[in-house]
């Protein structure tokens, strides 16, 4: 039985649907990320799962039990807040033990579980400190400890790393993932940071304006975006449309303003005369070598040194494209150069 099922979930604010007909099934132990820009509905969905919002339509099921009218206190879905939301008037120990106190766990059991959580989060020795005496990273770990110590059925994360500095973020997200794997608790994680999502999720749910654009594992999402939104949101992408002028076996030839490109189409049902929308990533556009497919010639508008690659903005007979080059390449604005677009890299979009 799936740990969490959302069926046609809709939540409106002032007649605007923040979450619009969202359906999702999450298995036991999965780490699922809700990813999208601000206002896409990911936080609203999370809070509805937690019980802070009542859905206007749709159902929420935890392991086969209907949760719609169960108050947040009874859902056993502990949440990690963006602001940590530690109780300012309680010390670290009392903060962590709070959920246990609410569940009337015995004193001895409380002591044991809190001690274990402190150790897991490397917080031993800080029991008596008050939240105001802790650094951001420490507060975050206390918030985590507080959430896991109750052995929840589902763990909810509301952009927990947004308030940490960049280096810490990268370090802590790995710790969160490892901890989750070790404990095996089903987790729903909300973020707008696609690198974060790609790094730690089992599956990613890309959301936009209240609905789901695509669900898949990180590789799927990155390499095979299904819609232009996903293609544009995750990583960089060149998104184009053109008419199919020829078809052979599993390849199509597409007519574009700057020329014709051959693309591997696989199962895509596109016949001659159809208009198709597709994307390919800058890393699939490389410096032309003899024998490479899809040769295009373009003028370099900007060449930006990124350290491990060079980010190129090209003008190819009026169409703007982005490409990558090795960091050792010497390109200047105004140069003309020839590039090749990898045939296998084309993603056909809806």
């Amino acid at each position: 039985m799936s740990r969490l099922i959302l069926k046609n979930l809709t939540k409106k604010f002032d007649n605007v649907a923040a979450v619009n007909n969202v359906s999702l099934e999450v298995e036991e132990g999965e780490f699922v990320t809700l990813l999208g820009p601000s206002g896409c509905g990911k936080t609203t969905t999370l809070r509805t799962i937690a019980g802070f919002y009542q859905p206007d339509e749709g159902e929420i099921w935890f392991s086969g039990k209907l949760m719609n009218n169960i108050p947040p206190a009874k859902r056993n879905a502990s949440m990690c807040f963006q602001s940590y939301a530690l109780f300012p008037h309680m010390n670290v120990w009392d903060n962590i033990a709070f959920g246990l106190k609410m569940r009337k766990i015995s004193q001895t059991e409380q002591k044991k579980r809190v001690a274990d959580a402190l150790e897991m989060m490397s917080l031993t020795g800080m029991e008596k400190r008050m939240p105001s005496q802790l650094s951001g990273g420490q507060q975050q770990r206390v918030a985590l400890a507080r959430a896991i110590v109750t052995q929840p059925d589902i763990l909810l994360f509301d952009e927990p790393l947004s308030n940490l500095d960049a280096k810490l973020r990268v370090q802590v997200r790995v710790e969160i993932k490892e901890m989750q794997k070790r404990l095996g608790i089903t987790s729903i994680y909300v973020t707008h940071d696609q690198d974060e999502a790609l790094a730690i999720s089992d599956r990613i749910v890309v959301m936009n304006q209240g609905h789901i654009e695509q669900v898949g594992d990180p590789q799927m999402i990155y390499l095979h975006p299904a819609t232009s939104f996903v293609a544009g949101f995750i990583g960089l992408a060149n998104i184009l449309s053109g008419r199919v002028v020829a078809r052979e076996e599993n390849r199509v030839q597409i007519e574009l303003p700057f020329g014709r490109l051959w693309a591997f189409a696989g199962d895509v049902q596109a016949g001659v005369g159809d208009t198709v929308k597709f994307s390919f990533r800058p890393e699939n556009v490389t410096h032309y070598r003899e024998g490479s497919p899809n040769k295009v010639e373009g003028t370099i508008l900007h060449a930006i040194f990124m350290g491990d690659t060079i980010d190129l903005f090209l003008d190819v007979k009026g169409t703007r494209l982005r490409a990558h080059a090795e960091s050792t390449a010497k390109f200047k604005s105004g140069d003309t150069a020839q590039f090749s677009i990898d045939e296998t890299a084309f993603q056909f979009l809806e």
Binding site: A73, S78, S83, F87, H89, F98, M102, T150
Partner: protein
């Protein structure tokens, strides 16, 4: 140096306002204290004595007044808190209707104490509308004596009616400082309504609760006007007794003792508050 000059000017600029207050309040307190010890006496000779103090502490009537005023202070502060706290909680989450409700609740704030006293006197007098309504609903058979009654319920009623908005404002600002996240986290971890109330709202609003209780106590303890129009004939409030002792019996020295007692109680309660506030916010 430049810094020092700036400092001196600042203190100079403080003199009009702060100085004025210090001068008048200071001199009156000074006279109160000194007269209680027999100095600056207007009747005859001035000499240091503690006779007045002894007399007051042996005077049953004065002690009765002190106890009565303490009772008024306690009941008024508890009463207003009991009414205002739930309302403050209810109003914490906004909404158009609630804003209107809040402005309605604020009205007694704008009504002077004497007027408030009179307004309530009209309602709770022996044949007033409250009594008549209670009898009509068969809740009581005979009218209740709520005015000028021996216990002082009339005074408490007026103090509560007038001061709920005052306490409500303080509590509201205290509750507003509690982040929604904190409450959500508590509910998320399993806290039911009562747990959220007693483990989150009350502890975090405690500074506001203490301030309002203290201020309310001081107001009601040292009250003159309301007690003299709506309070029992005996015992009078300590402020009332003090004034009668002074202007009716012309025993200013003894009145000064009562005055000092009032001041000391006020100071003690204020000190108690700062200690309690430290305890609540510090150690927990």
């Amino acid at each position: 140096m430049e810094r020092k000059n700036v400092s001196a000017i600042n203190y100079l600029l403080l003199i009009p306002g702060v100085g004025f207050i210090l001068l008048f309040i200071g001199s009156s307190i000074f006279i109160t204290i000194t007269q209680s010890f027999g100095l600056f006496s207007i009747t005859g000779k001035s000499q240091f004595t503690i006779e007045n103090w002894k007399a007051i502490f042996h005077d049953k009537e004065s002690l009765d007044s002190i106890l009565f005023s303490l009772k008024m202070g306690l009941l008024s502060s508890i009463g207003t808190l009991l009414f205002a706290f739930p309302v403050a909680l209810f109003l914490r989450k906004g909404g158009a209707g609630k804003r209107f409700l809040a402005s309605l609740i604020k009205i007694p704030l704008f009504i002077p104490a004497l007027v408030a006293a009179f307004l309530i006197i009209n309602l709770i007098s022996y044949h007033g509308i409250v009594n008549e309504a209670l009898i009509a609903l068969h809740i009581i058979k005979k009218p209740l004596r709520m005015l000028n009654d021996k216990f002082g319920w009339g005074v408490v009623a007026i103090q509560v009616w007038k001061n709920i908005p005052f306490v409500l404002l303080i509590l509201s600002s205290s509750l507003a400082s509690i982040r929604d996240d904190t409450v959500d986290a508590a509910r998320n971890l399993g806290a039911g309504t009562f747990a959220v109330l007693f483990r989150i709202y009350v502890p975090l609003a405690m500074p506001g609760i203490l301030v309002s209780m203290i201020l309310m106590f001081i107001k009601a303890f040292g009250d003159f006007a309301i007690t003299s129009v709506a309070g029992p004939t005996y015992p009078p409030s300590i402020a009332l007794r003090m004034r009668n002792t002074a202007t009716l019996f012309q025993e200013w020295d003894k009145a000064a003792v009562l005055g000092v007692i009032i001041i000391l109680t006020t100071l003690f309660i204020t000190w108690l508050y700062s200690r309690l506030a430290e305890f609540v916010t510090g150690s927990k």
